[in-house]
């Protein structure tokens, strides 16, 4: 995940402009170029495919109703309603709830990791975080469905056993590794001499962290928050299994909601190919893609604009 903090572009010492290339070299260069283009093509394909699939929806349903409608009931045989708001609210409820839990814990963890941890403990903890980030989302979802929902049920007596809180908690657990990795990276790139100067001036370690390290690595921390939030918004399996799949507009964490991702996944099982419902699902996918794309660009921009050059 060190994509953002990857080594800056080296000057072109490595890329000499070669005027005479053997034919075989040229061939290889072409092959490599084609391979690299595949990523661009793939991204374009994602966007294009979504547009293609969603376009018929735009012409056959009330577009304003789509974006502002408060009822999502696309499968109704007589009066289907395609309002995306309940899904957006569901996604936001769960993601923001998760962020509320993940940000303090993730930050606390990163600070501990970057500034306080004993190197030997660090060597164990960092792999542990990596392992956590490698766990498949369906397993988080399974845990939420079977175990966590029961705990919430016993402790808080919710209206419904599968609810937004269930999803938010597990989503927070999934967000934390990303947050920790990126934020810790950012804090580590603050040079030692800044810290030493602060300590030399009589500040305690905490004051040093608070007033020197954190502000200097702020861009990285913000990027960490934004990126992990993007992950939460795009998560499918965990919320599908944990939140109960009921598209409603609510702020009650103890009842079922449905996220955009879950709606697409679940409806696709029964949707009739090329029906209006089918195209509307693509439209939801498009909205989702635009959202996560925007979040990603935002994270990238924050880093570019505010990163301190040491």
């Amino acid at each position: 995940m060190a994509l953002i903090f990857a080594r800056k572009d080296r000057p072109s010492q490595r890329t000499r402009r070669v005027t005479h290339m053997k034919p075989s070299e040229r061939l290889i260069q072409m092959a490599l170029t084609i391979a690299t283009w595949s990523s661009v093509v793939a991204l374009g394909a994602v966007f294009g495919e979504l547009l293609l699939g969603a376009f018929p929806a735009f012409t056959s349903i009330d577009l304003l109703g789509f974006f502002t409608g408060t009822v999502w009931n696309p499968a109704h045989p007589l009066y289907p309603l395609y309002g995306i708001l309940p899904l957006v609210v569901g996604t936001m409820l769960v993601s923001f709830g998760a962020a509320l839990m993940a940000i303090p814990i993730g930050l606390g963890c990163s600070i501990w990791l970057a500034e306080l941890a004993h190197p030997k403990i660090k060597a164990v903890f960092k792999p542990a975080i990596e392992i956590l980030s490698g766990i498949p989302s369906v397993i988080f979802g399974f845990f939420a469905l079977v175990i966590l929902s029961q705990w919430i049920y016993d402790l808080l007596d919710p209206t419904m056993k599968l609810n937004a809180l269930n999803g938010a908690i597990l989503l927070a657990v999934m967000m934390i590794p990303i947050m920790v990795t990126v934020a810790e990276d950012a804090m580590n790139s603050v040079p030692m001499n800044l810290r030493e100067a602060s300590l030399a001036l009589g500040a305690t370690r905490w004051e040093t962290i608070r007033r020197v390290v954190l502000p200097s690595s702020l861009s990285g921390i913000v990027a960490a928050i934004v990126l992990s939030f993007g992950r939460a918004v795009g998560e499918t399996m965990t919320v599908l299994m944990a939140t109960g799949n009921t598209p409603v507009i609510t702020s009650d964490y103890l009842r079922s909601v449905q996220t955009m991702t879950a709606a697409i996944a679940i409806d696709f099982g029964e949707v009739e190919f090329y029906s209006v419902h089918y195209h509307v699902l693509f439209a939801v996918g498009l909205v989702l893609f635009v959202m996560t794309f925007a979040i990603n660009i935002l994270a990238d921009w924050v880093v570019r604009r505010y990163k301190e050059d040491y």
Binding site: N73, L78, M160, L162, G244, E272
Partner: protein, 302 residues
């Protein structure tokens, strides 16, 4: 360089194992394997899967692939020629029949089992029986609190199926008299989703095939009565389902695209047989066809 060697060896091993496994799949080499594809009702899914397993145990050269999606989805697939057989928990609508004829065939309907749709509530709910009018009122949104139908002061949460479900359609016809469901109903995909939801919601109510209610814990099955003064019947009582006293007793169906082929005929024949398909039916919690019905259906196989 040691790493390079290691990497190459590892990849070769992986590829070799993969190749070996790929060739394992080819064991239907001598006799031609016949595949029957079946799709549709989610209520019938577990039943159909166990039918398929048992049938395939005895018939090594036949492969029966079963999938769900709802009765409507299965019937569509049959009309589009995507599957050989559709399983449905309701009869085909006239519009679907017309589409099939337009596509070039006349579907043949076979009754294969009997279901009693169970109305389930959370185990903690004090209500044990409802009249048809009360059930209708609950599902069309007229009643929103359990204390309006003889229970505690608790909001009613409605759980039902998605619209491609045969159970959804059947329930709408029988109980709602073709009116609309309440807008507040949570449309869940699958019987087990409804069971789970009701288990976890003290005010919940849902409808599922009896096969799903029988094996579930944490829920109660309500008894239904026509009006307040009539006796109430439970879907768990075989007699009341078979002689129609239980109001939501219904047949489960299989549709073929025209007269069934040889292989499909044998499959259906097995389903009708008392020690084949019909014995499995009761294992799963549904009810077996009476002999008179079996004879009728067998005659259609021609």
């Amino acid at each position: 360089m040691k790493y390079l060697a290691l990497a190459v060896i590892a990849i070769i091993i992986v590829a070799a194992v993969g190749a070996v496994l790929l060739t394992q799949g080819d064991d239907g080499g001598e006799e031609e394997t016949v595949t029957i594809t079946q799709k549709g009702s989610d209520t019938m899914l577990e039943l159909a899967q166990i039918w398929a397993e048992s049938y395939m145990d005895d018939n090594a050269n036949v492969e029966v692939e079963v999938s769900g999606g709802g009765s409507g989805t299965g019937i569509s697939a049959l009309i589009n020629g995507e599957v050989d057989v559709a399983q449905a928990s309701r009869v085909m609508k006239q519009t679907e029949m017309d589409s099939a004829v337009a596509a070039g065939f006349t579907p043949v309907e076979f009754k294969v089992a009997i279901d009693g749709i169970a109305i389930i509530t959370c185990q903690s709910n004090t209500v044990t029986e409802l009249t048809v009018e009360q059930l209708r009122g609950i599902y069309n949104g007229t009643y929103t609190n359990w204390n309006q139908v003889g229970g505690a002061d608790l909001d009613i949460t409605l759980y039902g199926r998605q619209s491609s479900s045969g159970t959804y359609v059947y329930f709408q016809e029988e109980i709602l008299d073709d009116e609309n469901y309440s807008m507040d109903m949570n449309m869940l995909t699958g019987n087990s989703a409804i069971v789970s939801a009701v288990q976890g919601d003290t005010g919940g109510i849902g409808y599922v095939g009896i096969g799903y209610a029988v094996s579930a814990t944490g829920i109660s099955v309500l008894e239904l009565k026509e009006t307040d003064s009539d006796p109430a019947f439970s879907p768990l009582d075989e007699d009341s389902v078979l002689n129609g006293d239980y109001l939501l007793a219904r047949y489960l169906y299989i549709y073929t695209d025209g007269t069934p082929t040889d292989q499909v005929s044998r499959w259906l024949g097995w389903i009708f047989s008392a020690d084949g398909g019909q014995s499995v039916v009761t294992d799963v919690g549904f009810y077996a066809l009476p002999q008179s019905v079996v004879d009728e259906e067998m005659a259609k196989l021609g």
